[in-house]
Symmetry: C3
Subunit: 455 residues, 3 copies
């Protein structure tokens, strides 16, 4: 049975609630690109999937970058000296400029102001800002809060540490029949932001759990990495094994009410690009397919020219294109159980396509075989045929060893599942056999490996 | 002179009447995929063209199929025992389920009902239904007739035979200068249905007659075969010679008032696909070009993956897409003399393209040749040039041995006839010569022949 | 600094006035495909650029053509014998059929009428008509003038000479670092017609002057030739050197108020086609890109199949598509200083693209390089990035030695200048290096040269 059908037989509504609950469990943690918030997040994921975590020491060179010092934070606030907290990290971890160096001082508003970030267009929301690679400290607050500040002295405190430590990432490998693998990558560094990217973390974790223990064609590798530096670190440590990546997806922002967006890989026409487009067309309303661009999530690294991996990015609303992006309004109300569950279903359907997409050979290629004598055709002629017979005719006609099932689905306009079911029926009837797989490995990897010495 | 011009010099209106009269002569005959109705139909065609008929014995294996028993019918009816006929084969041969086994019995309505076919949405029309490969008997009747039947006993009689005999088809071969050939195929098995396919039979017969006795570039092969099993039988008996098919057309449903539809070959971009599209664009209103699909007429067999022949299908209204399809409303009023004549003209124009489409070489390829000194240009400069000179400039510019006249017609937007006439003028002026023909044979046939042993 | 930026720092309005003044200086001269009007025109151009002129004797064979006799004219008129001039060449040189043989006679209106040309649809305008290759004489006059002629005798006089002499053309070669060259070609044979083609002559002359004395990647060759016969003569005399033409533009009709039109080369996708399309898209409103056709200006000759040069044609309004075309209404009011200056700017921007378009190699192809540590990235994360960083990311991602800067500009949707500036920044940062140039010479020239012997 296909994964999609299996999911449909379960209660999608309760799966959605469970996904949302999982995201809610992760929501309060103050994550960053290193540190204990990130570690705790991965521990919670490990309660569902037997994932490994990797600790990479500060100072490790990773391509053009270096693993930074580890950041941890206990508390942060602004207050009138001796008074109550005006801005309080304990209420919302977005209040602190992520990766702020420690500070404890009293200063007038004029001196404090360059360290304050707000959103004049959304005066009730707190922005999310970071300063990973430039030593700085700061507070993010609502514009209303900022404007209410009187011109006087304030006590500012950021009780953080920036010390030699580790960058932590999680990796879960599900071996399949082939060493060729499917990569699913999520960034796991954002603090209390629900769509970006607790939605991705939750759905990927549930998908990993759903795939566990199955007899799979491909191996599946789930990586949960801090954005940019984490993906770069993972790539630097896995230059040998990435040659096995046949298909890949970056997941982010898949819990909001927006329609699906799929951003194509740099290559633009690889199988994951076509599978994602096909599934979204048949399983969702008004999906949009975006061309690759070198800005976005970690597909930037996977699709850098030296790797050029077949990795696309699945989203609902696109980063930067919705007002709640990188603000406190990207909260648990912004993501919905129904949307989370549908995203899981779409992913399962994409996996269905990847698992079943093959080329077949029609064993009776001269004229149509007589389906009727095999009880595979209607009995009375003259009327119209249905989708099942139509799918069989398409499979027979195009199964010449050149066309894959996905090719046939696209050319016929029928959903992949109908084409796959027809190919199953034709195989059972002895009319079709699997073609030997074409050597499809990414030559660019070999080229990349050769080029490495020059860098 | 082109065939199109020659037709235009005749009286197209009277040709249309003659075509309609020919269809009317064929209309009453009860055809099927075998039997005397089919034989009589081919005999009437032979009055116009010296066609051969071939009789293939029952039981002959043809690929995955077997030539069935021969079906003949003398009479059929339903009546109240001893009363008048309520449903009468003598009034309309659609009343009998085609290929019904013999039956003579009296039975209550309940027992009869599973053998009755009607069309609730069109209560006055009789459907056309068949049961070639499943032993059954039945009657087709209007829904009004069905609903008027009282709950009582009926005498049912189908005086048919299903015995060892033959499948009959007709074939007319017109040799040309080349053994490369153009295939024109029509199904000839439908009983009293005018558009589907007496229109195809009539127009093909007239085209064959019109081409007879001419000096032709290609050889032309007209085949009149029962649908599916007939095309399969013909292909099975002609596996050697089909390698000569350079272009092919299945003709069906070309007499009704609908606009033209051309369904492309499985390959989708062969010369017949481009020629048909070009001619329809310039010679008809709002033609539609359809992608290949494995459902339809006998292009299903010609375009099966083992053959993959360059055969498209020319229609007006598309099978199954008009309400009269496979009903008694597809009668002689449904097809029109004007439409039949225009279909003949379109076919003649397609043949014009195939006959004249070649590559030429500009013998003065450096700069334009001076047309003026050859009296091929306007005398006074400064104003605009006309289509004739424009066509000459296009022919000269693109005749580099790579572009065919059809390429030039498509790129220039001019009709093929204007481009062909310009190439004639340029040849006469010594400015152009024919390029050697490119080897264009279908490699897939060789592959198919090699693959046959495995089947 | 780019040529475009340099122009923008000057006063474009005054450049426009200067261009218009230059056209006004050329306007009164009676040019033709040979003769003193053409010579005088080239002399005026030589006051601005150190151009060579070439004199080719009458009778010289040039491919399929022959250099014609030289035509000169002193005077021409129609008058009532002994009365005032009714039609007077001194008032407008369009009044004489260009290349008229001499005539001095008195004749009745009936005999004169076949020699008179007018425009009934524009009764105040004088048409421009020629008779280069058919011996004839005639007068062009407004339709109002024609209709006012009484039925009586007229004295007609055309004081012209058609004698052995020369065809004159101008050529200005600006050597660059490479012998590969950019061809700019204008026809220079039209008498008092401002847009067609004093606009082209003026803008090309100013561009040549603007490029003079610079360190250029390509060599630039400006040719000012009489239409058709002049381009043919130039090609016949330069068959060796045209192999160096990498890009070319024919300029005509670039002074009127119409939007830009670029007509693609016969090849349709060469670099000049893409550069012109890109620049027009980013630097002008509603530009239109036209497919190649073998009618138009001298691109007809450059793109004849034996040469097939990468030469397109830049226009505003298209020949024959505006009512003033080839009439006295194509006068100095019809062209505008603003439009002439903008055309010069567009050309300079196209030259900018050609000069800078190269392929680069990302020297850190594995993952993104860390722009932040090189002060090439924003300091605080979480918000949006601007065009500058975006352009850098595109350049880094696609600089794999395969994509040119123009490829990157087109794929990113950013203007070429932003991409070029980004590539400069990345080179300075040591992140990018120039790829070796691909061998890009026109194989067709070699083929053409080989084919010549057969003609």
């Amino acid at each position: 049975m296909s994964l999609q059908k299996e999911l449909d037989l379960r209660d999608l509504a309760s799966i959605g609630e469970e996904l949302h609950g999982f995201a809610a469990q992760l929501y309060p943690i103050c994550r960053s690109i290193t540190g204990n918030g990130l570690r705790k997040t991965l521990q919670i994921l490990q309660e569902r999937i037997p994932m490994q975590t990797v600790e990479v020491p500060t100072g490790t060179p990773v391509f053009d970058w270096t693993v930074p010092k580890e950041w941890n934070i206990r508390d942060a606030y602004i207050r009138i000296p001796g008074g109550e907290r005006i801005v309080d990290f304990q209420q919302n971890n977005l209040h602190v400029l992520n990766y702020s160096v420690p500070v404890h001082d009293t200063m007038p508003l004029d001196q404090l102001r360059p360290h304050l970030f707000s959103l004049p267009d959304h005066p009730n929301w707190i922005p999310y800002r970071t300063s990973y690679y430039k030593s700085n400290w700061g507070f993010c607050l609502s514009h209303n809060q900022l404007q209410a500040l009187e011109d006087r002295d304030y006590e500012v405190c950021i009780d953080s540490t920036l010390e030699d430590g580790h960058l932590t990432y999680g990796e879960y490998y599900l071996p399949g029949r082939s060493i060729d693998e499917v990569l699913i990558s999520c960034h796991s560094c954002h603090p209390s932001l629900a769509n970006d990217n607790l939605s991705g973390l939750s759905v990927a974790t549930f998908l990993a759990d759903f795939l566990s223990g199955r007899d799979l064609r491909y191996s599946y590798r789930f990586v949960f990495v801090p954005g940019t530096i984490g993906a770069i670190t993972w790539l630097a440590r896995n230059r040998e094994s990435i040659q096995h990546i046949r298909h890949g997806l970056v997941l982010s922002g898949i819990g909001d009410r927006g329609g699906f967006h799929y951003k194509k890989s740099r290559r633009g026409d690889v199988e994951i690009d076509r599978a994602a487009r096909h599934v979204l067309k048949h399983c969702s309303e008004s999906p949009e397919i975006l061309d690759f661009s070198p800005y976005g999530y970690d597909e930037r690294q996977y699709c850098s020219p030296g790797f050029n991996l077949p990795v696309g990015c699945l989203m609902r609303s696109v980063w930067g294109a919705f007002p709640e992006y990188h603000t406190s309004a990207d909260n648990l109300d912004f993501i919905q159980p129904t949307q989370l569950a549908q995203s899981l279903r779409v992913l399962a359907t994409i996996v269905d396509v990847l698992e079943s997409n093959r080329r077949y050979q029609n064993l009776n290629p001269f004229c149509e075989p007589q389906l009727g004598k095999r009880n595979l055709y209607r009995l009375t002629g003259g009327g119209s045929i249905g989708t099942e017979i139509n799918a069989c005719l398409w499979v027979l006609n195009l199964s010449d060893g050149e066309h894959s099932l996905l090719d046939i689905a696209e050319r016929s306009g029928l959903p992949f599942s109908a084409i796959r079911d027809a190919s199953d029926r034709m195989c059972q009837a002895g009319l079709l056999s699997v073609s030997p797989e074409k050597e499809n490995h990414k030559k660019s990897i070999t080229r990349a490996a050769g080029a490495e010495a020059d860098v």
